[in-house]
Structure formats: C-alpha cells, structure tokens
C-alpha cells in the first residue's frame, strides 16, 4: 500500500470531509467519528481510486459511513416546526451595532440550514459551501442529476422563505 500517496490524496480534502460530516451529523463529536471511520474505509478502498476526483470520492465515503452509522435515526428532528426561526431579538436591540446584526444573521442562516431535512441540507452544503457540480453531487449522494436539481430548488425555496428579512438586509437590491 503506497501510504505516502494515500496521505497526499486524502489530507487535502480532510476539511471538506469534516465540513460535510459536520453538516450531516450536526455534532462535532459525531463528525469526528464519521471522518475517522471514513478515513479507515478510504485506506481500505484506496486501490480502487483510479482517475476519479479525489474530493468527490472521499465525500462519497464520508456519506456512506454516516449512512451506515446513523441511517435515519435522527430523522425525528427533521420535520420540526420552524417556530424558533423567527427573529428573536428583543425590540430594544433592533438598532444594535451592525456587527451584532451580522452575527445574528449568521446564526439564523446556520439554524435555517440545520433545520432542513437531511436530503435538502446535504445538497445545499455540497453546492453552496463546497462548490461541487451537479454531477459530483449526484455521485456523492447517490441520486440522479435531475434529483439534485429538484432538491436544490426546493431547499432554496425553503431557505428563502425562512430568511426573507436577512436577504433584504443583505442587499438583495444591489445585484442588478
């Protein structure tokens, strides 16, 4: 086993692997377990990696590892009503510093993504944060490209509905 090469292939994508696992599991500890298990599997399957994109290959293994470990046990929380997504700042803070507003916006965006069903959440993370193409997402998530497209569309509709006020503050008008 050419272990030096394994490191060269896997380590550059470890952040991507952890980020993906973290969004899938919503827990630092679980993400660490998933990534370490995935790395062990990756080493075992390493000889099967030919000329594929190493990042997509590693993310696929992360997903399979997560699926084997946690398959749908956490689905109870995924249909949770989004009551707590409302703007929860006390009125007195409405004209607080821009920095505070920005931090609260980031928190709301994070929670909005976390409350998406896993199927939606992962396509959003892979597309918007990791920048994968539809083809790569299809390979990682094991779904057809058409499904990638429809899940992204529905995920975005939900996020837009949840984050409308933040979008307005984010300067949606300056795009034209």
């Amino acid at each position: 086993m050419p272990s030096r090469v394994f490191e060269e292939v896997v380590l550059p994508h470890l952040d991507a692997a952890f980020n993906y696992a973290r969004w899938l599991t919503k827990s630092d500890a679980d993400a660490e377990d998933v990534v370490q298990d995935a790395a062990v599997r990756a080493l075992r399957f390493f000889s099967s990696l030919r000329n594929d994109d190493a990042r997509a290959w590693l993310l696929t293994i992360v997903r399979n590892t997560w699926n084997a470990r946690f398959s749908r046990v956490g689905s109870a929380d995924e249909h949770m009503v989004l009551d707590d997504m409302k703007d929860d700042r006390p009125d007195g803070q409405l004209d607080a510093e821009a920095l505070v507003i920005q931090r609260q916006t980031v928190e709301r965006v994070q929670r909005a993504i976390e409350t998406l069903p896993t199927d939606f959440r992962e396509v959003i993370v892979l597309r918007e944060i990791e920048g994968l193409s539809y083809k790569e997402i299809a390979a990682v998530a094991g779904i057809p490209i058409g499904t990638v497209m429809s899940r992204l569309a529905r995920a975005r509709e939900r996020l837009l509905a949840l984050l409308g006020p933040d979008l307005a503050r984010g300067g949606i008008g300056d795009l034209s």
């Binding site: 380590l11 952040d15 916006t105 944060i129 539809y134 497209m149 996020l159 979008l167």
Partner: protein
Amino acid sequence: MICPDVERLIDAYSDDELDAAQATGVKAHVATCPTCHQRVAERAALRRLIRGVPYYAAPSRVRRAVVAIRRPARVTPRRLALAATVLLAVSVGTGAVVRTVRARQAATATLAQDVVASHVRALMGAHLFDVRSSDQHTVKPWFQGKLDFSPPVEDLAGLGFPLVGARVDAVGGRPVAALVYQRRQHTINVFIWPAADTVGALADARSFRGFQVRHWTRNEMALWAVSDLNDLELDQFVRALQP
C-alpha cells in the same frame, strides 16, 4: 422563453449548470422580466448568506488520527521503551527543527486562506481584470512599472486553459501578480510573487471552503493556483505551469 420555463431552470441557471443555448435563453428572459430577475437575485443573495456561515475545518486531532491509521500500532512494551529512549535522544536535537517546520506549515496555511480570500474577492467584487487579454505578450509588459518583479506569463489555451486577463492584487499585505485563466465556467487565479524560499515542485495542495489550492515555486517565484475546478483538471493545469 416564458416564465414557467425559466422558473424550472432558474436554479440550474444560477449554478452555471445549463448548456449555452438554455443559458442564453434564460439570460434574455431575465433581462426583461422583473419577477424572474428577482428570483435570480434572491438566489445570489442566498448564496452569499450561506457562504457567510462558519466553515467546519477538520480539528487537528482528526488530522493526526487520519495520519496515524496507516501505521497500525503493533507496539510491544519493550519496543515502546526503546522507542521512548530513541525519541528522547532525538527530540533534544530536533525540537528546533520541528518548531521551524510547524511555523512554516502554519504560515503556509495562512497564505492558503489569504489566496482563497483574494480569489473570492476578485470573483464577487467583479474586479477580476485590470487588463483583459489572452496575449501573453500584452499581459507580461503590462505588469512593468506596477510591480517590482516580472511574473512569468504563459497562455495555456493549447491545453484548454486559455489566459483571459490579469490584475495586480494583494496577498498577505504585499502586492502580487494575479493571472486569470478559464476552464469552461471555472475561473483559475494564479497568484505570483518573489519566493522567500524555494519549496519545490508542488509544496502544498489542499481544498478550503470548496476551493482547490495548489502551491509551488519556480525560478524564485512563489506561485499559488486557486479554483473551484476539480482536482484532476487543476493538477493538469499546475503541471503545465511547472518547468
């Protein structure tokens, strides 16, 4: 195209996943339809919001654990004692070296984040070019008088990576040359400045926030390539730029 067609394609359009004919159709419609224009703008704003959330980078203990898995620990107490003795003897001498290596790794990681930040700034701020040209004999002289060094400029159109332009950018507080290459819809920024030390053919490869980053030195220049292109094609590009 009419609204229902465009509505169906709006996400793929925002993601640059349509073929040229469809993209042109959607673009033409969006230019004249305020409702669909709004949809495109919403998606761009949503993307900015999502990219503003913290990135979960792998903690260093995960990195160490992954490095350790390919060395299964079949360690007997005797070997352990021996190893400890050797380690003690060696560590006295190598402490300084290890610290230097660590410091360099940290500096490299910081630079990698800086070049990704410059790449993103250039793409989002629409300041991708100071000079827009695919001619290396136009681009190279353009840098004269703008920088205190002359960066190597090569067009790689023959390999499918056309040079499209250049600008002066800043990385880590110093002015650098930025060359812009194109591969399909993907932009590759190559940042160049005089190297502080020679690190070799390919000194660093990582992915950060969805971008691939490669670093090498050549003829006393430090080069950094950043793109959202996949591994294989970016490596091909980097090989083409190496001596």
